[in-house]
Symmetry: C2
Subunit: 222 residues, 2 copies
């Protein structure tokens, strides 16, 4: 399959996970914009990441970043997930929104606490309506590993969404970043990836490791 380069915005891209995804996607040739509530901070992070990626990265406020993109990746804390999506909703119409949100409720981040609707990302699909194709991905990938460009990532990405074409696009982005993305079902199944994050946090603590991940076994190349 021919590799396509997309215009991608990473909202909350000044955080560790967003920065890691932006870094790897830019290094793979995509056109990246870091989005943040603070455009100045977005610009500073973008400049740093661009130097590391060997490719210029833009920075702007979340709405302008979303507006300029074909694909929007959301990497903000759960507490501001909904507000951030509402803020950029008009800019998301007709696009793919890749949401990596995990409903962690500090301080008990090692305990699964799914919201009433069961999946934080599925709730966003309901909020955004059908002209935004929401894909869930990246919940289980260690931010620490993402930001180290030379670090191979020993983790599969569970990709969930109601639109299979949008899921395939996200799976392609995973491959561009050196990860295996797997179709894991409709958006409701995001609950599994979201819940797993608390399990991985628990595993990190219990077994004194950093950045536990998951692999799906039983597939031809695993």
């Amino acid at each position: 399959m021919e590799q396509r380069h997309y215009r991608i915005a990473v909202l909350g891209g000044t955080g560790a996970q967003g920065s890691g995804l932006a870094l790897r996607l830019a290094a793979a040739g995509h056109e990246l914009t870091i989005g943040s509530r603070d455009a100045v901070r977005a610009g500073a992070t973008a400049a740093q990441l661009g130097t590391r990626a060997g490719k210029a990265i833009a920075g702007s406020d979340n709405r302008a970043a979303a507006d300029a993109a074909e694909i929007v990746i959301l990497t903000v804390p759960y507490a501001v997930q909904r507000a951030t999506v509402e803020h950029v909703l008009d800019q998301l119409r007709g696009k793919i929104l890749v949401d990596s949100t995990v409903p962690l409720l500090p301080p008990k981040v090692g305990t699964v606490q799914l919201p009433e609707g069961r999946s934080a990302v599925a709730a966003i699909q309901e909020l955004a309506g059908n002209d935004v194709r929401v894909v869930s991905a990246f919940q289980n990938v260690s931010a620490q590993h993402l930001v180290e460009l030379e670090h191979p990532i020993d983790c599969d990405v569970l990709v969930c969404g109601n639109d299979r074409t949008a899921c395939d696009v996200a799976i392609g982005l995973c491959a561009d970043m050196g990860m295996r993305g797997l179709y894991a079902g409709t958006i409701a199944n995001s609950a599994a990836a979201e819940a797993l994050t608390s399990v991985l946090i628990t595993v990190n603590r219990r077994y004194k490791v950093a950045g536990a991940g998951i692999r799906i076994t039983g597939l031809p190349n695993s």
Copy 2:
């Protein structure tokens, strides 16, 4: 650590998953009883499995099986999980109940559908009260692989429970069966393992494989 042999009942042990667990546990030296609503059927399955395990396995109705055991493993369909536990509740007092239940709601078994309480196994801990130590395990292990005694199982077992000693006992049973059990948090975290089963069913369908499983990466021996 010295290997201890336990008296173990597998309720719903005439099914594929229960039979597989009983077979492997008996082969590892434990004293097994197959429990079923139908004592005659339990006896027939027990006789067959005992021959394969090279060690006699008993069979009886669920209540008698639970009564005779130190550890009770529950492998019944979600639809009868609660009724089965209520039926044997008096026989569970003071014991470890290892519950492998997944809240699958046919026909959409590839879609995560966690119950209101979020975890089907956590609901059983609430039902049973604190003198039954409920441990969640085995949701993600392919029954097909379990029943083939010579088949190495390429799947980790997420072990959740509020009692760490009980979790360690279950992790020991995993090792006896040739699997790696990992402490994955308190009983609420069973939601992750339960949700993952629908993801694995989806992966099996999407990628045309049988018996996809999971591995936790980033640990010393993984």
